[in-house]
C-alpha cells in the first residue's frame, strides 16, 4: 500500500540511537494508520542510527524509506524540504508526521506550503476516522487550553507531535519492514541560509537529562540560583530555570525550560520557587515525577507535582543539598 499511508519523517544527524520521541511518534502514527486502514511508513533522511529497522519492526512499520544523501539533517532545511516535497508528490501520503523540535518547526510548515497542505503543530492527539475528516488536538496558550483542528478534505495533511504526545508502545504484532531507498534529485540544492558560526554546544543537553533541578523567581535574587546548581550537582542532574529569571539574566537561556525553551522529559524534575505557569509546564510536563518546593500552598505547580514541599526554598535548599550528599 504505497498510497495514502501514514508517514513519520525523521532525520537524526549523527545520533547513535533512535530517540524515544521518534518511537512515541511511530506509536501515534500506528494508531492513526490502523484507524484509517492504511500502512505506517517511516522516512529517514540522512544517516540512520543502528537498530533503526529493528525499532521500526517493533512499532509495526511496513516500509522504511531511506534517503541516503550525506549531510542531510537539521542544518540543511532547504534540502530536507525539497527531498520531502519529492517524496510527498510521488507517494501522496495521507498523513505526514513529524516529532516537533527546533528543526521540524521550520521543515513541517515549509513542506506544507510547498505541497499546499494543511499543517498543525503542537499535536498531542490524532483522531483519524476512516470516513470522516481528520482531527488533531493541539496544545494552545502555552498549554492552558487544547484546540481541536479539523483538516479540510485534501490528499495529504501534516501534523507535528509534541514531545508529550504519548509514550512508545510496541505493536501487538511486530512487522518485518522492508527497507527501500527513495532516490531524490537534490542536485542544484544550495542552502540559502549559510552558517557562519555554529552554536557551541557545551556539555550535555537538558533535553537528555534524567534529573533536573529548576529555579524560578521564588529564589528571590540572582545570587540564590547557585543553590539550584548545587542541588542539581548533588543529585547528579542538571540545572534548569524558568523564563522570567532567564529574561532577567540570572542564568543564560540554555537553561530555560518551557514552551520557548527546552522541552524536557526527565525521570525527576525538581521545581524550586516556580509558580507553575503553563508556559513553563510545557517544558517539563512530560517529566515522570515532579517535586515542587514553594512557599505558596496554592501555587499551580502543586497541581502537577507528585511530591510537594510547602516552605521557604532558601531554607529548604541547603538542607536538601546536605541530604542529597549524605545519600551516597
Amino acid at each position: 500500500m504505497a498510497h495514502g499511508s501514514v508517514v513519520l519523517c525523521s532525520w537524526f544527524g549523527d545520533a547513535e540511537v533512535v530517540p524515544e520521541e521518534a518511537l512515541a511518534a511511530l506509536t501515534v502514527g500506528r494508531n492513526a494508520a490502523k484507524s484509517l486502514g492504511v500502512d505506517l511508513e517511516w522516512i529517514v533522511l540522512g544517516p540512520a542510527p543502528s537498530g533503526t529497522p529493528e525499532m521500526a519492526g517493533q512499532q509495526g512499520v511496513a516500509v522504511v524509506h531511506r534517503v541516503d544523501n550525506d549531510g542531510l539533517g537539521g542544518a540543511t532545511p532547504d534540502a530536507l524540504v525539497e527531498a520531502l516535497f519529492q517524496f510527498c508528490t510521488s507517494r501522496i501520503p495521507r498523513l505526514v508526521l513529524f516529532c516537533q523540535d527546533f528543526e521540524s518547526r521550520v521543515v513541517a510548515p515549509r513542506l506544507a506550503g510547498r505541497i499546499s497542505a494543511g499543517v498543525v503543530m503542537n499535536g498531542v492527539e490524532i483522531n483519524a476516522p476512516a470516513e470522516a475528516p481528520l482531527r488533531v488536538t493541539a496544545s494552545a496558550y502555552g498549554g492552558d487550553t487544547r484546540v481541536v483542528y479539523e483538516f479540510a478534505d485534501a490528499p495529504t495533511s501534516l501534523v507535528a507531535l509534541q514531545a508529550n504526545a504519548g509514550l512508545p508502545e510496541a505493536a501487538e504484532t511486530p512487522s518485518s519492514p522492508s527497507v527501500e531507498d527513495f532516490s531524490t534529485d537534490l542536485s542544484g540544492q544550495v542552502e540559502r541560509v549559510r552558517v557562519i558560526e555554529a552554536a557551541q554546544s557545551v556539555g550535555p543537553r537538558l533535553e537528555e537529562a534524567e534529573i533536573i533541578v529548576s529555579g524560578g523567581r521564588g529564589l528571590g535574587s540572582p545570587d540564590n540560583y547557585k543553590w539550584v546548581e548545587e542541588l542539581a550537582e548533588a543529585l547528579g542532574g542538571m540545572a534548569g530555570a524558568s523564563r522570567p529569571i532567564v529574561d532577567e539574566g540570572w542564568t543564560d537561556s540554555s537553561h530555560q525550560v518551557g514552551l520557548t525553551g527546552r522541552i524536557t522529559r526527565p525521570a525527576l524534575y525538581v521545581a524550586v520557587g516556580i509558580s507553575g505557569a503553563s508556559q513553563h509546564m510545557a517544558g517539563c510536563g512530560a517529566a515522570k515525577n515532579i517535586v515542587a518546593i514553594n512557599k505558596d500552598p496554592d501555587a499551580a505547580i502543586f497541581r502537577y507535582a507528585r511530591y510537594g514541599v510547602v516552605g521557604d526554598c532558601l531554607e529548604i535548599l541547603p538542607e536538601l543539598i546536605r541530604a542529597a550528599r549524605n545519600r551516597s
Binding site: D101, T145, Y149, A199, S254, Q279, Y307, V309, E319
Partner: protein, 267 residues
C-alpha cells in the same frame, strides 16, 4: 530597504494563564472561544520584538521604511502603537473568512507584500501566544519563495547580506542569508521600546490603510482555509500531590529524600 513586520492581535496570554491557574477559564457557547470580557487584546509579544529589531536596524544606520501589517478587524490600537514607536506605514488586512487559518493568513500577508512592490526583509514573531502554531512565517517564505531564518535575537546588515543571530538549543548560532528573507524573532531580543508621550499623541491621528482580501491578488489555491478550529477546551490536570510533612527545613528535606528513595525515583 523595505521591511515588513507582521503583527497578530491576541488575548493577553498572562491573563489567560491567570484564569487557567485559578480554574476559571471559560469556553463560550460556540465551544471554541475564550469569552472572558476582562481579558484584554494585545499585540503578540514576539511580533512586538520583531518590530523592535526593525527599529534597532534603523538605529544602527540601516536606511529603511518599516511597514507593520496585521490581519483582522479592529487593529487600529496595535497599529497606532507601532506608528508611535517608529513604523512608517501601517495596514490592516480584512479577510473574507471569519477565522483565517495560518495558510490563508500567510497568503494574505504575502499578497499584500507583493502588492507593495515586495520586501527586502519580512519579520515575524516566532509564534503567536494564543495558538502557538508558528506556521505563518514559514508559509510566507514558501509563498514568496524566499529563505526563512527562525528564532533569532539580532539582525545586522553586512553589505548586501543579512547576518542573523539565532537562539538554538545548542546556543547562539550566526548565519548569513541574502535577502529577501523571512526572519522570526524570539523573546531573547529583549524588551521592546515605549513611545514618547508626544509620539503617542501624534499617532492618535494616524489611520491604518485598510486592505480587503478582494483587493489582493490571491492565487486560487491560496484562498481557502486548510484547517479550522472546531473546539477548544481546558485540559484536566491530575492533581495527586503528596505533601511532605515536617517541622523544620531539615526534617522536610530528609523526608522528601526518603520518599524519593522508597519510590525508587532516586537511588
Amino acid at each position: 530597504m523595505k521591511i515588513f513586520v507582521c503583527a497578530k492581535q491576541v488575548l493577553d496570554p498572562d491573563a489567560v494563564n491567570n484564569y487557567a491557574l485559578a480554574g476559571r477559564l471559560e469556553i463560550g457557547e460556540d465551544g471554541k472561544s475564550l469569552t472572558q470580557a476582562s481579558i484584554p487584546e494585545l499585540v503578540n509579544a514576539y511580533d512586538e520584538q520583531a518590530l523592535e529589531v526593525a527599529l534597532r536596524m534603523r538605529d544602527n544606520g540601516t536606511e529603511c521604511t518599516i511597514h507593520v501589517v496585521s490581519v483582522g478587524e479592529d487593529r487600529t490600537a496595535i497599529l497606532r502603537h507601532a506608528a508611535s514607536i517608529g513604523a512608517d506605514e501601517i495596514a490592516q488586512i480584512l479577510s473574507s473568512h471569519a477565522e483565517p487559518d495560518g495558510h490563508l493568513t500567510a497568503a494574505l500577508l504575502a499578497a499584500h507584500i507583493q502588492a507593495q512592490g515586495g520586501a527586502d526583509l519580512v519579520l515575524c514573531g516566532r509564534q503567536a501566544s494564543d495558538d502557538d502554531q508558528g506556521v505563518v512565517p514559514a508559509l510566507i517564505s514558501e509563498i514568496l519563495g524566499i529563505p526563512l531564518v527562525n528564532v533569532a535575537k539580532a539582525i545586522e546588515r553586512v553589505g548586501e547580506d543579512l547576518r542573523v543571530t539565532r537562539v538554538t538549543p545548542d546556543g547562539d548560532e550566526i548565519v548569513e542569508v541574502s535577502g529577501p528573507a523571512v526572519v522570526t524573532l524570539s523573546n531573547e531580543v529583549g524588551d521592546p521600546r515605549y513611545p514618547t508621550a508626544a509620539n503617542k499623541l501624534k499617532a492618535r491621528r494616524v489611520q491604518p490603510e485598510i486592505v480587503n482580501e478582494a483587493d489582493l491578488d490571491l492565487a486560487d489555491e491560496n484562498s481557502a482555509a486548510r484547517v479550522q478550529v472546531v473546539k477548544q477546551f481546558v485540559p484536566d490536570v491530575q492533581e495527586n500531590c503528596e505533601f511532605i510533612e515536617g517541622a523544620t527545613p531539615a526534617e522536610l528535606a530528609d523526608r522528601l529524600m526518603e520518599r524519593l528513595r522508597e519510590e525508587r525515583i532516586l537511588s
